[in-house]
């Protein structure tokens, strides 16, 4: 099983390269002024998916594991947030934390079962498990089946920030996104991230060096699941709704598309990929079925011509690490 080709193959130091710091600052600045020009709820949606894609990328880009069941974490967290905020009346911060916890526990369960396999088999086990979660969500009464959990109250964050206000909501989502992004960034540039990469490149050798690959893979899996849960839970608050779409395998496929398009194993790739995909969906929504055709076309072109993704190719041209 050859490892999937990754853009950032060269060894990465424990400190962030300057190009990444600058790119990060540019990104934050862009997000701060964006709501002046773009509908904030739409931006918030993009940020949620960007975080989801980053969490997914942690697994495929740095541990070389393609999960085809990440929608389970995203969606279950959304349901957990919806239920705790609406039925139990929890404030948003507690509800989101609860969502993250649910996703993490689910991730632990998935991880224990799935990391024993590799490559395609890993993808298939995660898909099978996610289908079971989907079935559970379809049947369990608290999810309200096809209707989903509707009218989830946004509430007041810490009893102070009124999330009904669109601007406030946007900046809260931005803060959540940045926290998640920095956690992932930290993980990649820590010794933990180094070991993950070592496992991806050469597992037997890592074992011979005294590491336990399964330990590291499991940790990466749980971290990725928890952050996917953070993204899904936040999305539930933004849209005041949690539905079956979030747990459907189509969502798992979408996050693969975002990450692949942006650039596997790049720091900023998933963010760019998520923005492009969500943007396309939004602007092509008028033309119905063509959205699918365009998405499919992107997949094909991406696999054939720029496997490094947008950011990966850009980094190669500019000779920068992004």
């Amino acid at each position: 099983m050859t490892a999937i080709r990754i853009a950032g193959k060269a060894p990465v130091g424990l400190t962030a390269p300057r190009s990444q710091v600058i790119a990060f600052l540019v990104m934050v600045a862009a997000f701060l002024i964006a709501p002046l020009f773009i509908y904030p709820i739409f931006l918030a949606k993009m940020l949620c998916f960007a975080l989801f894609a980053c969490a997914f990328n942690l697994l495929i880009g740095y541990a070389g594991l393609l999960s085809f069941g990440h929608a389970a974490f995203f969606g279950m967290a959304a349901y957990a947030v919806g239920h705790s905020a609406k039925v139990w009346g929890w404030p948003p911060e507690l509800a989101i934390l609860f969502g993250v916890a649910v996703a993490a526990v689910l991730g632990l369960g998935f991880g224990i079962l799935a990391i024993r396999r590799q490559g395609i088999y890993f993808a298939m086990v995660t898909l099978a498990l996610a289908q079971m979660v989907y079935f559970f969500c379809l049947q369990a009464p608290f999810t309200h089946g096809e209707d989903g959990i509707q009218a989830i109250p946004r509430g007041h964050l810490f009893g102070f920030f009124n999330l009904r206000d669109t601007e406030t909501l946007y900046f809260v989502v931005l803060a959540i996104f940045l926290i998640g992004f920095l956690i992932i960034y930290r993980a990649i540039h820590s010794p933990f991230g180094q070991v993950l990469r070592a496992i991806r490149e050469n597992e037997p050798r890592t074992i011979s060096l005294g590491y336990k690959p399964d330990h590291y893979k499991l940790m990466a899996f749980v971290l990725s699941a928890a952050l996917s849960g953070l993204a899904g839970g936040t999305k539930a608050i933004v849209f005041e709704i949690a539905t079956l779409t979030d747990v459907h395998w189509g969502t798992s496929g979408e996050v693969v598309l975002m990450t692949l398009l942006g650039g596997l194993g790049t720091v900023f790739g998933p963010v760019v990929g998520a923005f492009v995909v969500i943007g396309l969906q939004n602007y092509l929504a008028q033309i119905g079925a063509w959205v699918q055709v365009v998405q499919g076309l992107i997949f094909v072109v991406c696999v054939l011509t720029f496997r490094r993704g947008i950011v990966g190719e850009l980094g190669r041209i500019l000779k920068l690490k992004l």
């Binding site: 509908y39 709820i41 739409f42 949606k45 379809l138 309200h144 089946g145 096809e146 209707d147 989903g148 509707q150 009218a151 669109t166 849209f239 005041e240 709704i241 539905t243 779409t245 979030d246 929504a285 008028q286 119905g288 079925a289 699918q292």
Partner: protein, 403 residues
């Protein structure tokens, strides 16, 4: 951009006289939101946009001189996408009213958003009777049909003609459950009994196993509490397994003209169904259908298309009377106050809970030899008068009806 809009609004205001200066954003925007590419694309889809355009053209293209625009989008039958579009339409694009919205789950989501933003929601495509029941809203009008009306029409007629034992094939989601629940109540109220039901996954391909269970239940009638492709596939496969020859009959609880078209009369004949509109009813409806079909790839109007036409027309009339579109609840109040009248639905009214009241019709699908050509599919079995066609006001549990 903003300036030109303001200027345009000002011009309109001058042109229309100061009494009608209240159209927000300088235009009236109608958003047709439905399934443009999936299961319900033929029975609603682009056809609903055409129906709205036809209503607008008939009205003259403007309200008291203010331009009326129609926009459309695809909700893909997903409540999250639907509510997302609705929010964006209301917040950013200045849409004043959303029409159609098949798929009950999406309609319920839009119902909430519309109420929160105080706009107007005219439902034609969705079936959930909750929209005028516990979930009723001062901003929503439910136009064409609902699960109660379907159950009442088909259920009652079938029991009264001897089909007194039922088995349900139910799509396993909210709409299917509601349809089964409402129909069971009607069957039992009329002296029939329900022998059992089987829940099948949504968008199922193979129904043979479920049909076999229905067959071995020995029920006289197999009620199909599902929609779209699920209904057509179960009817088709029932024919294959000789269910109807075996003495059992099928009752499609939600079958549209386009479904019958897809099935072909060979398979669908004899089916009993309830609809709010059939194109071949009188000269006016035939005229409408001819023009509609010309613009919609030959597809004739379903009751959903007719409902979109009729509800948009009534909305525009109310707007003309009121002269302002900003306060959605006020527009809906006006719609309830004015009696409805148009060439497809005739005279009717919008009840205080938001239910549009009109007669429903019980049809039987023609045998192939009875049909004069494509789209000539139904013969009328009975007319259910308006006062009996819908759930009585006091039984829905709508808070608006209590005061």
């Amino acid at each position: 951009m903003k300036k030109t809009l303001l200027a345009a609004a000002a011009l309109c205001a001058i042109a229309a006289g100061s009494a009608h200066a209240e159209m927000s954003g300088g235009t009236v925007k109608i958003g047709v939101l439905n399934d443009m590419s999936g299961l319900y694309a033929d029975l609603a889809g682009q056809g609903s946009v055409i129906a709205a355009q036809m209503a607008l053209e008939e009205f003259g293209g403007n309200v008291n001189g203010t331009k009326v625009e129609i926009v459309s989008a695809d909700h893909q039958n997903k409540p999250d996408i639907g509510s997302n579009v609705a929010r964006q339409w209301y917040d950013v694009d200045g849409v004043d009213v959303i029409v159609d919205v098949p798929t009950s789950s999406v309609a319920l989501a839009i119902n909430d958003v519309t109420r929160e933003k105080n706009k107007v929601f005219l439902v034609s495509g969705a079936a959930a009777s909750d929209l005028t029941g516990p979930k009723c809203s001062p901003n929503t009008v439910h136009w064409t049909y609902d699960t109660w009306a379907l159950a009442n029409g088909t259920g009652k007629a079938v029991v009264q003609t001897g089909g007194d034992s039922w088995f349900f094939l139910t799509a396993d989601y909210a709409f299917g459950h509601a349809l089964e629940r409402d129909t069971s109540a009607v069957v039992e109220a009329n002296g029939g009994k329900v022998l059992g039901s089987v829940k099948h996954p949504l968008q199922n391909a193979d129904f043979s196993s479920f049909l076999l269970q229905a067959q071995s239940s020995g029920a006289k009638v197999i009620g199909l509490a599902n929609a779209g492709g699920d209904t057509t596939n179960s009817i088709k496969q029932a024919a294959e397994f000789g269910i109807v020859q075996g003495g059992q009959s099928l009752a499609g609880l939600l079958v549209f003209l386009t479904d019958v078209h897809a099935l072909g009369l060979e398979t669908a004949h004899g089916l009993i169904l309830t609809e709010a509109f059939y194109w071949d009813a009188n000269d006016e409806t035939r005229k409408f259908a001819a023009e509609f079909a010309k613009r919609n790839r030959g597809i004739h109007p379903t009751m959903i298309h007719a409902g979109v036409y009729s509800s948009v027309l009534h909305y525009l009339k109310a707007l003309k009377e009121l002269g302002a579109d900003a306060d959605g609840a006020k527009v809906v109040a006006k719609m309830k106050e004015m009696p409805t009248d148009d060439r497809l639905f005739g005279k009717g009214q919008v009840r205080v809970d938001g239910r549009h009241i009109h007669p429903m019709y019980l049809f039987e699908v023609k045998k192939p030899e009875e049909s004069k050509g494509p789209w000539d599919y139904y013969k009328l079995r009975a007319t259910i008068p308006a006062e009996e066609a819908f759930r009585p006001l006091d039984q829905g549990g709508c808070p608006l009806a209590k005061s």
